[in-house]
């Protein structure tokens, strides 16, 4: 019996090990849901959500891996990204509704770019002003980033008010593709594709460039990278800015996905983002992607099967995975 499970485990390991978990979840859901068309819709929604969560979580995970910094204010970048892009889209309303996909995409690109630029600048500010003085002091780090999150949330309330803001979508992303009795929302497919492109780019930077090599080495042993002659603190500013920009982009995409946003959005997503990085394992983007996809799928499947348990299901997933692998599915350091 033991030998059987062992060989089974080895076979699974060769076929991708924990990477197969989303497939298992999808297969179980297929049986439970029963209706293939609903299942396809939910799966697409789950994948799209997973990709956006990945964007929001990847920075948090890398920042933690590289400098042991856990930023509880990370959600502020998500919120600001959402509100800034919504404002830009509202300002470019004429382009959005125009019957030209060129103008449509220009408006969308401008909105995303604004969010990304904000993320870069705010990330730089956050790292140098807020976090640098409290490196290596977890307690004060948590407290200070919480304080920053409160200030950021209140700033959003002061600028945009507490009422929900509706977000315009470009014309060409409205509607759905209908294939047989399956309908796929175009925006979801787009969100998935954009997220996948960003993941691939990140993956290539981390695995094919010298900067990426330094980041991976720094995640594992920061001191040694410094002893080899590299300033990890300077590298860290860059990673922090990139992570903040990705979170802002994730927020901007999320705004279009929800179409109605409130200042509480960042705080709500933060919980999910934390669950994603804990499940995936801190410090690796592959782990973060895996965690994000799992959470995205679970949220949508459970949201359909037992709506009231959607958030609790993520919690249960997290507890189960932590009991099985205390450091998450794919942590950076062996």
């Amino acid at each position: 019996m033991n030998a059987l499970t062992e060989t089974l485990g080895q076979k699974l390991g060769r076929a991708g090990g924990v990477n197969l978990l989303p497939l298992v979840v999808a297969a179980v859901a297929f049986v439970l849901i029963g209706a293939p068309s609903s299942w396809v819709t939910l799966t697409v929604a789950g994948l799209a959500m997973g990709m956006m969560l990945f964007l929001m979580a990847s920075g948090l995970s890398l920042v933690f891996g590289l400098m042991d910094v856990l930023n509880f204010g990370h959600s502020a970048f998500v919120s600001f990204g959402a509100f800034i892009s919504a404002t830009v889209l509202a300002g470019l309303g004429g382009w959005l509704t125009a019957d030209s996909w060129v103008l449509n995409s220009l408006a969308l690109a401008a909105a995303y770019l604004a969010a990304i630029c904000f993320g870069l600048v705010a990330g730089w500010f956050f790292e140098t002003v807020i976090i640098k003085p409290v490196y290596r002091d977890h307690l004060r780090q948590i407290l200070i980033t919480i304080g920053a999150m409160i200030v950021a949330e209140q700033t959003i309330l002061a600028f945009w008010g507490g009422t929900p803001l509706s977000v315009a979508r470009p014309n060409f992303l409205e509607g759905s593709w209908i294939i047989g009795d399956v309908s796929i929302e175009i925006y979801r497919a787009f969100a998935f594709a954009l997220g996948a492109v960003v993941f691939i780019m990140l993956y290539l930077v981390l695995n094919r460039t010298r900067i990426g090599l330094l980041i991976r080495a720094g995640v594992e042993n920061r001191e040694m990278v410094e002893a080899l002659g590299f300033r990890v603190d300077r590298l860290f500013v860059g990673v922090f800015m990139l992570g903040s920009a990705l979170a802002a982009l994730g927020g901007a995409m999320w705004a279009g996905y929800e179409t109605l946003i409130t200042p509480a959005l960042g705080g709500q997503l933060m919980i999910v983002v934390f669950i994603v990085v804990i499940i995936g394992g801190l410090g690796s983007i592959e782990g973060t992607l895996l965690g994000a996809i799992l959470v995205g799928l679970m949220t949508n499947y459970i949201g359909f099967l037992a709506p009231k348990l959607a958030l609790a299901s993520n919690m249960i997933l997290m507890v189960a995975i932590l009991l099985w692998r205390p450091n998450g599915l794919r942590p950076a350091v062996k």
Partner: protein, 234 residues
């Protein structure tokens, strides 16, 4: 000529004073050995030189320049390499990636790489393997190789023989002898036989102070002194 000069170094870790008063000179060329019991402060001395702990007061002069308050990365760039006790291998990176990371340009100098592969053949054989899968001895070789992938003036090596099989220790001794022809080595070692076979000059650290310094030849001859400074019972 003096390459590295430590003057009245005192280092605290948290609220504990680990080094009280460390002064010694490392001449250029050859192997300088730091001896001492467990917990005497040898590793802390190396880390303080490297800027990984900040000594205060006290100073570290390298080629006559005060590097005490410099950042670790800048100290490394001045030509000091560090082989820590835990080897500091990046396990998720391949052997070659570990080596290429240690170059400033991101490119191998073929002649130096060939020399390293001649010294440590295993590093050529497993060049594309992830470093965590190497044996302890191979990891130690990789760690040393990383320190000599580019010309350096000084290499700090912390207990390289710890936990290694005798045959690998011999190979390591041979490698160090060759490296020492072109580079100065500051070696921390518990294994006295190994240290004696390599060292030209030496110092003994005891309870955060330099208890003795001089030539290895004299120290090896004075068994009473060895007993007093190194034996566990004292």
């Amino acid at each position: 000529m003096t390459l590295l000069s430590i003057r009245n170094m005192k280092t605290d870790i948290g609220q504990y004073a680990v080094l009280h008063d460390i002064s010694f000179d490392v001449p250029e060329g050859g192997v300088f050995v730091l001896l001492g019991r467990n917990g005497a402060g040898k590793t802390t001395t190396l880390r303080s030189i490297m800027g990984l702990w900040k000594p205060s007061p006290g100073s570290v002069l390298f080629k006559g320049e005060d590097i005490t308050s410099h950042h670790t990365a800048d100290i490394a760039r001045k030509g000091i390499a560090y082989v820590p006790e835990n080897m500091g291998i990046f396990g998720t990176l391949t052997v070659d990636e570990n080596l290429i990371l240690a170059t400033t340009s991101g490119r191998f100098d073929p002649a130096r790489l060939a020399r390293i592969h001649a010294l440590f053949p295993a590093l050529e054989q497993f060049r594309d393997k992830q470093a965590w899968s190497l044996s302890g001895g191979q990891k130690q070789m990789l760690s040393v190789a990383r320190a000599i992938i580019e010309p350096r003036a000084l290499i700090l090596i912390d207990e390289p023989t710890k936990g290694l099989a005798p045959s690998i220790v011999d190979a390591m001794a041979g490698a160090f002898r060759e490296i020492a022809q072109t580079t100065t080595i500051l070696l921390v070692e518990q294994n006295f036989t190994f240290a004696r076979s390599l060292g030209r000059d030496m110092a003994v650290i005891d309870d955060g102070r330099v208890a003795h310094s001089g030539s290895m030849e004299d120290f090896a001859a004075d068994t009473a002194l060895q007993d007093r400074l190194l034996s566990l019972s004292a």
